[in-house]
Amino acid sequence: MTTIDQVADRGTAAGPGPTPLIEVRNLRVQLPSRDGIVTAIDGIDFSIGRGEIVALVGESGSGKSMTALSIARLLPPTARITSGEVLLDGVDLLELPDRDMDRIRGARIAMLFQQPKASLDPTSRVGDQVGEALRFGRGASPSQAWQKSVALLEDVGIPEARRRARAYAHQLSGGMAQRVMTAAAISGGPELLIADEPTTALDVTVQAQILGLLKSMVREHGLSMLLISHDLGIVSTIADRVVVLYAGKVVEDGPTAQIIGQPTHPYTEALMRSSLLIPNDEGRLYAIPGGAPRPGEELVGCRFRARCQYADTLGIAAKCETLEPGLHLCESGHQCRCWAVQDGLITLTPADPIRLMITERTR
């Protein structure tokens, strides 16, 4: 167990509590682009319970990273939040003065990015960087901060932590750098860790190590985590709940086992099928036809309609083209935005070979 008192003192119980730690309500973010103002996030709602690992999944351009940056209020200066709330323990972060938000970042909300080596300062020793939040956020002396950094580096599985604390970023491998970033992220004793594609740049062997580390850090310290990824396979190994984004909207939200084992939204199913890379009888891979809507494209009806394999075969194409489906509760804690599901036209058959394969894989 860690020696960091701030971290150890946080007696948060694991498991989603009655009040979520984070509640995102009707968040809408717009960005200027050459084609005019583009709506990157178009009214999304989801929550993260205490001790819960929530994965935010979707293709590039779906709004995953923008959502994460909105929560931490690190959006690029040109982006504008046009509506919505981000509640941390009931307090709207979007209303806080910058000074208060500065205190929340690092102390209550920490972030982990895709390129660990680019996130580290090349000119300062990693031990100093890990201790930064302790010195400036918690007023520790330089030597206290250094001692705690070394302990944290040990915690995240860095061999010879005392010696490695004196290293610079360029002397670390990608996996080691991500461990260092993890240590820095948890040093301030945050309640929420936002990890944006934390393993995408790493080797598969190291990916598994880092995912295991993140999960154990979250559980040991009673943190909540928002994990952002385009890879359903990765999130299935550690997330409690999965929120699927498509073109700036939530299309499915439910427990991981249900999302992976029985994807309900046609997009989630297509994403799952295409990520398995298992060829059909003709040796072809399943690929979702077409591409996601281009930013700025006018969207009417269901946003996935043009790529959906069910809309035509089920004879509801006209409805899908004109009316946007709402989020429909299909089971307790499982929502889905699809007319075919809402009208009971898609029935989940556990005997579907694709679904069986998925179950097999995540077993």
Partner: protein, 352 residues
């Protein structure tokens, strides 16, 4: 094997190849690229301004044959030398030792003129399409550039060729007038492939061709690569750390670890009966359903290629390592068409 497949009944068809993979015509080809005992070391300056010179053992004695028409998958962790190997074949960097031939022609000894001709036959596709294309050039100009550099056709015929190339990769001719910033990553990838095909190469090295892409687009690009190879009879070297990609597309697979090939076999040999403990760990990490429960996650990371361990380079991370592994293990056939550099491959095979 379907009746629609002409190669299956042609004189080149080898009756023994059907069990090597999905592409029956592949393994029938003759050797196109032959590497023999190829070595590449990069000097780096060690600690401090006056530090002594150290050497990165990027490639250490690699022997490999790529046959005409096959897809050779090359897998390994960062720093294993996969990308260096592709660059050596195309002579973008020059090997220190050993021999590399393309269709019998010595690549290392090629002079400028010969090299220019060779590069029409061999092309490389990089991982990041955004940095592979000039943002200030229209896509048509980018695709046309190799044609004009090699003085192929006049302006009008080159324009036609660009349209044909775009069609080959599944893009409308109007894309020639677009700029990179107006396209998605998947579309740019197709453009990069079109440009690589412009000179009609026989060999295409793809360095992590799909790792910057979303899952849905990745499948589209892989399908395209398979189509092109079937239509054009291309030979592919596919470098990836994603074993799912390699399993789908490869006829044969070479596994690299710290500058050496540690296992080589047909796709099914490698994925169904991996013999090297390292290959087993790689498969367990990326295809967990393939491995038994007792295949724990590989710990640690590859040691530095600056001072690689003596003997078997994997021994420090290997669960089966014994004293004798301090000697360099021979790279030998364990089964027909399936070679491994591990003295304990029989025990490893038994554990799978």
């Amino acid at each position: 094997m379907t009746a629609a497949d002409p190669a299956a009944v042609g004189p080149g068809a080898d009756p023994g190849v059907t069990d090597t993979g999905r592409h029956p015509k592949a393994a029938a080809g003759r050797p196109l690229i032959v590497l023999e005992d190829v070595t590449k070391h990069f000097p780096v300056s060690g600690g401090g301004l006056l530090g002594r010179k150290e050497v990165v053992h990027a490639i250490d004695g690699v022997t490999l044959t790529v046959r005409e028409g096959e897809v050779m998958g090359l897998v390994g962790e960062t720093g294993s030398g996969k990308s260096t190997l592709a660059r050596l074949i195309l002579k973008l960097i020059t090997a220190d030792g050993g021999q590399i031939t393309f269709d019998g022609q010595d690549v290392l000894a090629a002079d400028r003129g010969q090299l220019k001709a060779l590069r029409r036959e061999m092309q490389l596709i990089f991982q990041d399409p955004f940095s592979a294309l000039d943002p200030s050039m229209k896509l048509g100009q980018s695709i046309e550039a190799p044609l004009s550099q090699h003085n192929i056709g006049d302006k009008a015929s080159r324009k036609r060729m660009v349209a044909e190339l775009l069609d080959k990769v599944g893009l409308p001719a109007s894309f020639a007038e677009r700029y990179p910033s107006e396209c998605s990553g998947g579309q740019l990838h197709r453009v990069v492939i079109a440009r690589a095909l412009s000179l009609g190469p026989r060999f295409l090295a793809c360095d992590e061709p799909t790792s910057s892409l979303d899952a849905s687009i990745r499948a589209q690009i892989l399908n395209l690569l398979v189509d092109l190879r079937d239509q054009l009879g291309l030979t592919l070297l596919l470098i990836s750390h994603d074993l799912r990609v390699v399993r789908y597309i490869s006829d044969r697979v070479a596994v690299m670890y710290l500058g050496r090939i540690v296992e080589l076999g047909s796709r099914d040999d490698i994925f169904e009966h991996p013999l090297h403990p390292y290959t087993q760990k790689l498969i367990a990490a990326s295809l967990p359903e393939r491995a038994g429960e007792d295949h724990a996650i590989l710990q640690g990371e590859p040691p530095s290629p600056i001072n690689p361990p003596s003997g078997c380079r994997f021994r420090e991370r290997c669960p089966l390592a014994i004293e004798a592994c301090k000697e360099l293990p021979p790279f030998e056939p364990a089964r027909p068409g399936h070679s491994v550099a591990c003295i304990r491959w029989q025990d490893a095979a038994a554990s799978w």
